[in-house]
């Protein structure tokens, strides 16, 4: 059962990838339908079935039907397909960007060293960033006095 929920979550993200790297709006609508059904099934597995029913009826049955006949108004008669090289490049590139973002932000725990400043990932918690941020929150007086002193120095130099 747990694997099914994980599979629905993966299908949701893959539907998002399909919409983003669509070769033609026809395939983008397919990705959106897959993502909406996966999201609805996921919400049912978490127990909130009314919200899932509303998603399927209003979103899929209402909005996407309107989108589908607008796509038939606006799209090409000879669309490019999933196997054209530009589309594969886009899909791969966007998936790569998401993977790099996940690794750097510490989700997979690959970039964290024990006992150093990188204790919770490379960019998640840094001692020097959070220390310097105090200058803008509780140390706002220091910021204002420093700015005032710099302004006075500017007038002194210009004289």
């Amino acid at each position: 059962m747990m694997e099914f929920v994980l599979f629905l979550g993966l299908l949701f993200a893959l539907g998002g990838l399909a919409v983003a790297s669509n070769p033609s709006p026809y395939y983008g609508v397919v990705g959106l339908v897959v993502a909406a059904i996966a999201g609805g099934g996921w919400l049912v597995s978490l127990g909130v079935s009314f919200v899932s029913l509303m998603l399927v009826m209003v979103y899929l049955g209402g909005m996407l039907v309107v989108f589908v006949y607008s796509v038939s108004l606006a799209a090409d008669p000879y669309p490019e397909t999933w196997t054209d090289w530009g589309v594969v490049g886009y899909g791969f590139g966007m998936g790569l960007v998401v993977m790099v973002g996940l690794v750097v932000s510490g989700v997979f725990g690959l970039l964290s060293d024990v006992g150093t400043v990188n204790g919770a990932g490379l960019l998640s918690v840094r001692v020097d960033f959070s220390g310097a941020a105090v200058l803008y929150s509780e140390g706002a007086g220091f910021l204002l006095i420093g700015g005032w002193g710099l302004l006075l120095t500017l007038f002194v130099v210009l004289e």
Binding site: L6, G9, L10, F12, A13, G15, G16, L17, V19, A20, S21, N22, S24, P25, G28, V29, G31, L32, A35, A36, G39, W42, L43, L46, G47, V48, F50, V51, M54, L55, V58, Y59, G62, M63, L64, V66, F67, S70, V71, L73, A74, A75, Y90, M94, G95, V97, V98, G101, L102, V107
Partner: protein, 98 residues
């Protein structure tokens, strides 16, 4: 981050990348906007589940209402620009180019 959050987070990022790199059609940019709204709906629906507060369930429903309004407005713009320009190719929308 639990795998639930990871899933709609990555779907939102991918859709916003697809909106930023829109290539030929205006309607594929509108479809990316719709999928951003879908991932936000699922994210907001997680709130009453994880905080155990049933009255927060109205928030995704209200968001879906306004997302439907926005989709209708976007499609009306699409139809209007298809009527004047003949198609919705983005490189034809160059009236404001200097």
């Amino acid at each position: 981050m639990s795998h639930l959050h990871l899933s709609f987070y990555s779907a939102f990022i991918l859709s916003s990348l697809g909106l930023a790199f829109h290539r030929t059609h205006l309607i594929s940019a509108l479809l990316c906007l719709e999928s951003m709204m879908l991932s936000m709906y699922v994210a907001l629906a997680m709130w009453p589940i994880q905080m155990q507060s049933p009255s927060s369930t109205i928030i995704p429903i209200i968001m879906l209402t306004f997302s439907a309004c926005e989709a209708g407005t976007g499609l009306a713009l699409l139809v209007a620009s298809t009527r004047t320009h003949g198609s919705d190719y983005l490189h034809n929308f160059n009236l404001l180019r200097c």
